[in-house]
Symmetry: C2
Subunit: 481 residues, 2 copies
């Protein structure tokens, strides 16, 4: 099998055919990664930080050409992609800084306690070791920030793991170029193959099944992610698999928040249609008061919205069929925006309008994520209806409540929604995920396969660190371990 780049704006393939990594190449790469792990895991935190900084510098220095090829492959546009490179290199540098400050990697010394049992105990030094070789599956929608050198790779490398990155087929050239820059830096610093790259589904599955591989990370579709999760868990030796699989990111608008219906509707559509709606934090479900001026505004403004290209033919067809299924399931009105019919990968942006009763009659509607420029708008009559919808929601990455601070219903709704999400926002839209210590980008399944962990922000590193307690060691030996 081969992969070729595809220009979403023209609907045409371009560039070289990039061959899938063959079975024998995969075995070679796994062995290289295992050997590289020996050196990389033994490097000091400062050495690892320097390598991550070096990679960030290389990406920044080459951002113009990287953004150019990524734009051709993804259609995401230069401003967004330039911002995304900035986010990617910021992320690499933040992990470098956290290695230097030591917060997530430092050992904890639990001194000898000279007391009778159960309180007495020998000295225990709880130290943190990298898990081993990690396979990271690149995401479709973030060619930089969640791909070859995205958050999963950055956190795994920071932890001291060697990473085998599986390129996403919708941006193979971007993946190759990003990888080449990183490889150069790592080789120059003596850590060749701490990061390696593979292409092709079969290659990815082979790596995930390898007894030499200790963990996996993934951002992408629910179906693909679940299939990989199942592989990782049904191995003879199961391994941690951190998958971020999909999320409808419910947003609740309370009447008390609607002071400027037009501005609020506009902000909603901006968030919904950002990057053609292809964000994992896209507000797929909006709950608005019945007969509210905001709904009228949304229905009016959507008509003016223009389409932007899909990432790939597969993304478009999945979106289109999900939208069709959702409309059929709910029997709901579809209000379309403008269309482009020039051979590119476009669908008119749209909202589907329905009410709580219809949704509760078809609760599966709450599980259909129209990944793309489609929003499900549910009108509600009262708080009790909202609580019923919340009770029927699956886990989500984020939820938002828009409300006046004085609204008597705000706390009840926030408390209920917090049970279902990894991040709860007040009067702010879900898109835009800060890479910072306070971030939690995860949530109950299917938002994440591991609800206690985050894939964005500095806590992401703990996913790849395994504690080892050293009991009763003399200082001169402990110092050499």
């Amino acid at each position: 099998m081969t992969t070729q780049s595809f220009n979403p704006r023209t609907g045409k393939a371009f560039g070289p055919e990039i061959a899938d990594t063959s079975a024998s190449q995969v075995e070679l790469i796994i062995d290289k990664a295992v050997a590289a792990f020996e050196k990389w895991s033994a490097a000091t935190a400062l050495q690892r930080a320097e390598a991550l900084m070096g990679i960030a510098d290389a990406l920044d220095a080459n951002s113009t050409s990287l953004v150019e090829i990524a734009d051709l492959e993804t259609g995401l546009g230069l401003p967004r992609l330039t911002g995304e490179i900035g986010r990617t290199t910021f992320q690499l540098r933040e992990f470098a800084r956290t290695l230097i400050d030591g917060r997530f990697i430092k050992s904890e010394v639990d001194a000898f306690a000279d007391a009778p049992l159960p309180a007495g105990h020998p000295e225990l030094i709880r130290s943190l070791s990298p898990l081993g070789v990690v396979v990271v599956f690149g995401a479709n929608n973030f060619p930089f920030a969640f791909s070859v050198l995205g958050g999963d790779t950055a956190s795994a490398l920071a932890a001291g793991c060697a990473v085998i990155a599986k390129a996403h087929p919708s941006h193979p050239q971007t993946s190759n170029q990003v990888f080449a820059f990183a490889q150069q830096v790592l080789a120059a610093q003596g850590f060749s193959d701490a990061l390696t790259l593979i292409h092709g589904v079969e290659a990815g599955v082979t790596v995930l099944n390898s007894p030499k591989v200790s963990a996996g990370a993934f951002t992408g579709s629910r179906r693909g992610g679940r299939a990989l999760f199942d592989i990782a868990q049904s191995r003879e030796t199961p391994i941690p698999f951190y998958g971020e699989l999909g999320s409808v990111n419910p947003v609740i608008i309370l009447n008390s928040a609607i002071t400027d219906a037009s501005a609020l509707a506009s902000a909603y559509l901006d968030s919904l249609l950002l990057g053609n709606g292809q964000f994992c934090t896209n507000p797929s479900i909006l709950l608005v008061p019945a007969k509210s001026p905001m709904l009228t505004e949304i229905e009016r403004q959507i008509l003016e919205r223009k389409p932007t290209p899909f990432l790939s033919p597969g993304t478009k067809s999945a979106h289109d069929s999900n939208r069709l299924e959702l409309a059929k399931l709910l029997g709901s009105a579809v209000v379309h925006g403008q269309e482009i019919n020039d051979g590119g990968l476009y669908s008119a942006p749209a909202i589907l309008v329905t009410n709580v009763a219809s949704v509760l009659a078809q609760p599966r509607a709450l599980e259909i994520e129209c990944f793309g420029p489609t929003g499900l708008v549910i009108t509600y009559e009262n708080v009790s209806e909202l609580l019923k919808i919340i009770a029927n929601l699956e886990g989500a990455l984020t939820g938002s409540v828009f409300s006046a601070t004085t609204d008597p219903d705000a706390v009840t709704l926030c408390s209920a929604l917090a049970r279902k999400v990894g991040r709860l926002s007040w009067n702010s839209w879900p898109t835009g995920v800060a890479v910072t210590i306070g971030q939690h980008h995860g949530g109950p399944y299917p938002a994440s396969t591991s609800p206690i962990h985050t894939s964005v922000g500095l806590h992401a590193i703990v996913r790849f660190l395994r504690p080892v307690s050293y009991q009763n060691f003399p200082a001169e030996i402990a110092a050499k371990l």
Copy 2:
């Protein structure tokens, strides 16, 4: 189905037949646990700490009668069981203290950063919520410390989760009594059903499969644990499952450590035969220098060792058939200690002596855990042989190296063994696991199904806490959430 207590010393059943929890009772208990979770998770840390302290007090106050029934059901003896109650209540109080000091549960405030992207971000308060209702499968070998109110239950309750405990069939009356004391305390403090109890395999599986249950924890056999892990992971909504499945706990004796062969051999046999060898940290595999005086001493001293009872008929028959299989696989000499043939559940303590070449020819031997009074003693010629054995080991809870501090091989061996274990001990035997902050009781599979988490010590609480980031919340709302 019913369960009846069984006296390992007489080989006879006794006491009431305790019925398995029926399907309809299970549904009721799950609903009670869900309701109790609402109150328990909303309790303050201080309230939860007081409840845990109250339970600990109740167990201490009733330890005489608890130890009596546990001894009849397990044959573990009064001194050991009295110590185990002390450990159990210490553990409950330690989790109470950690709730009060707040280390593992406190929110992290990440202040608004007024800067351009990607560094700028809204305020994010990363707060920790309990996962939900947790099912804890009690262990055979610790009727107190790893059962109804053992480490898994204590850490899950501390986190604010409601716990459904599944009693182990080998000590049903102990389980019922422990539960009754805890239930009284919880009810008196207004938290009825924060802990509930079920009996029977089917009931346990039903709970683990319930969409209303958010996590599972288990300590026990590899086969049983893997079956439950598979159930938890193949649910429509997979849930975290923290299983501790088995471990051979390799111990390496270097020549430089053998200053008193007789004392060292005696200490080894004490550790091996403690609690009839029924510890998850039992040193199942010992590596000694070929022709060493320690081996001679072990072979001599084992002859004098007396059997102690098995926990249950199943434990004995599994042990006996594993010992037979191991001896056959390796063609190795079995040196037996003394026997008791009076109808009780006894097998003569024994060691199987072999060498590295034989083991490398049959590496599966390294995976057979003879849970009981049997040790595999492997003689080695040199460090290179030791490294080959280490390379073939599966994950283990602990490993030990006995050596002089000046031994040039110590560091190499410790580094290699650290890759395979959760705790590495220097000149100390693996049995005896301190409940403290520096403890890591886990390790690569099959020692644990989640190699980054511990089931003993205060870090165990993090397994049951899910982060939620609150973005952009006004203080007056945040204070009420």
